[in-house]
């Protein structure tokens, strides 16, 4: 009997603590659907507390690939969308899922690869030419393959270079189907080239033999946009609180917070909201 009594007491305690903590505390919070690249860089940990201090609104960030973030926002599972795939974002707004899209900030992509550099792209600036050399030498290339913003950028670059690497999928072109960090882990493990945003790269710790080999092309520009999920489509969207967040991140305070975030002495994101 002792056993059951203890067990049932433990169970009751458990249910009560859960019920107590699950009850809405009346606090103000919004959900931002965003990307792994921004979350992994640590940017949100830096700037969101500033926003919360000022407004009392807590921001819960769901970090997934851009493709999944947009899909989740289309389902109404979030109040604000902050991603980096401009054409997809504009379609999101055009289809009525978002209110309006604003530029927030940018960073850039870099091509990293093994320091032995079998394709010989070290120091190149022209991203398309670098990809052509990688394809020409059939050196291993790890692709995100997950329809994320970075993946979309990579696909666009291949297309501009006039190469369709998907025919070589599984040979030298390897689609990991996972996030930026996981793909960098894979690239590091098999000494492959890959395209990564600079923010994730700077904060990434398991680089192994990988180095930045090509950078600086205007084509490698990575623009982030912010969109309020349309309350006309999903009535429960916290439009006021979401708009407050968007107003703040586009304001001087928000833009300065973004510019002020540095990792290992390097600025990761460059604010460029049009005011």
């Amino acid at each position: 009997m002792l056993f059951t009594r203890t067990l049932s007491r433990a169970a009751c305690a458990l249910v009560f603590t859960f019920a107590a903590s699950a009850a809405p505390g009346g606090d103000k919070s919004i959900i931002v659907q965003s990307t792994t690249s921004t979350a992994n860089s640590g940017l949100y940990d830096e700037i969101l507390p500033m926003f919360q201090d000022k407004t009392g609104i807590r921001v819960d960030v769901v970090a997934v690939g851009t493709g999944q973030a947009i899909k989740n926002a289309m389902n109404g599972d979030g109040d604000v969308l902050l991603v980096h795939a401009k054409p997809a974002e504009e379609k999101f707004v055009a289809d009525g899922f978002g209110v309006e899209r604003f530029d927030v900030m940018y960073n850039d992509f870099v091509i990293v690869g093994p320091s032995s550099d079998p394709a010989g792209i070290r120091g190149m600036q022209d991203a398309k030419a670098a990809l052509k050399k990688i394809a020409g030498s059939k050196a291993l290339f790890a692709s995100r393959g997950d329809n994320s913003g970075t993946h979309k950028k990579e696909v666009a670059l291949w297309k501009a270079a006039g190469i369709d690497p998907t025919g070589a999928s599984g040979t030298w072109y390897r689609e990991t189907g996972s996030g930026m960090g996981a793909t960098l882990n894979t690239a590091s493990g098999m000494s492959a080239y890959t395209l990564t945003d600079r923010g994730t790269w700077i904060s990434f710790k398991n680089r192994g033999d990988l180095r930045i080999l090509a950078e600086g092309d205007a084509d490698l520009f990575n623009q982030y946009g912010v969109i309020l999920v349309n309350p006309a489509k999903h009535p429960h969207v916290k439009a006021d609180l979401g708009q407050a967040f968007i107003d703040w991140i586009l304001s001087d305070a928000g833009q300065n917070a973004i510019a002020g975030y540095k990792l290992e002495g390097q600025q990761l994101f460059f604010p460029n909201a049009r005011r």
Partner: protein
């Protein structure tokens, strides 16, 4: 291999320093998985008992199905629960997505078949001994179920532990329905996945070690409870 040494040092450091973030994550992991196990037992144990003692047409098919459901992939459970709880889904009005409650539901869906299938096995063996007595005393189905669960309680605790092990170790389901939101829905496994994706393998492994120690402590505690209870029962 240097990661292992580093991981052990990190794990010890995190635990001994009583790192507040770690405690929060461990606490949520325990809360979510234990509640899920509790809910699964409420459904799974009676279901397993009923399946063990009743005979009906198609019982074999039901048992095969149930056993197959033990192999439900967590990521599929997560996806299905997401589709139900999403604001575009049928249960969206509950506003449960990205909350610990959603994670509990997903884990409960994942382990209820395990609890039901394993308890069916345990109780069926027990029932072989009791069947004649039940029949001679004309015991009703609910009383028989209650008696069998009660008398099989020591073996059934192991069944619950198997469910707990599965729940606390899975990452696919809670990642999708919880969203791995810091200070809200981040648990041990999603934190490990996050640190791995940041390339901080030592920290990820350190967290993994904490998770394994946590599972060890729970199992040891249950074992101790069981031994104490058994001693009282036979004293």
């Amino acid at each position: 291999m240097q990661d292992f040494g580093q991981a052990i040092v990190l794990a010890l450091h995190l635990v001994l320093a009583g790192n507040a973030d770690l405690m929060e994550i461990v606490g949520l992991s325990l809360k979510v998985s234990l509640t899920a196990v509790f809910a699964s037992c409420l459904i799974g144990l009676p279901l397993g008992a009923v399946l063990a003692i009743s005979s009906f047409r198609g019982r074999g098919i039901v048992l095969v199905l149930l056993n197959a459901l033990m192999g439900l992939p967590p990521v599929v459970v997560g996806l299905i629960v997401y589709l139900f709880l999403s604001n575009a889904g049928p249960l969206g009005w509950l506003r449960l997505l990205y909350s610990p409650a959603a994670m509990i539901i997903a884990q409960a869906v994942l382990i209820t078949p395990i609890i039901a299938a394993l308890s069916r096995q345990v109780i069926e063996e027990l029932h072989d001994e009791y069947a004649e007595q039940f029949r001679s005393l004309c015991v009703s189905l609910p009383s028989a179920v209650a008696a069998l669960i009660w008398d099989g309680r020591y073996s059934l605790v192991t069944v619950a532990l198997a469910g707990f092990g599965r729940a606390v170790a899975e990452v696919g389901a809670v990642m999708i329905v919880g969203g791995n939101i810091d200070h809200l829905t981040r648990v041990m496994t999603t934190a490990i996945a996050l640190e791995t994706s940041k390339g901080d393998l030592a920290l990820a492994l350190g967290l993994g070690m904490v998770l394994m120690v946590m599972a060890l402590v729970i199992n040891a505690a249950v074992m101790a409870l069981r031994l104490t209870a058994a001693r009282f029962a036979y004293a």
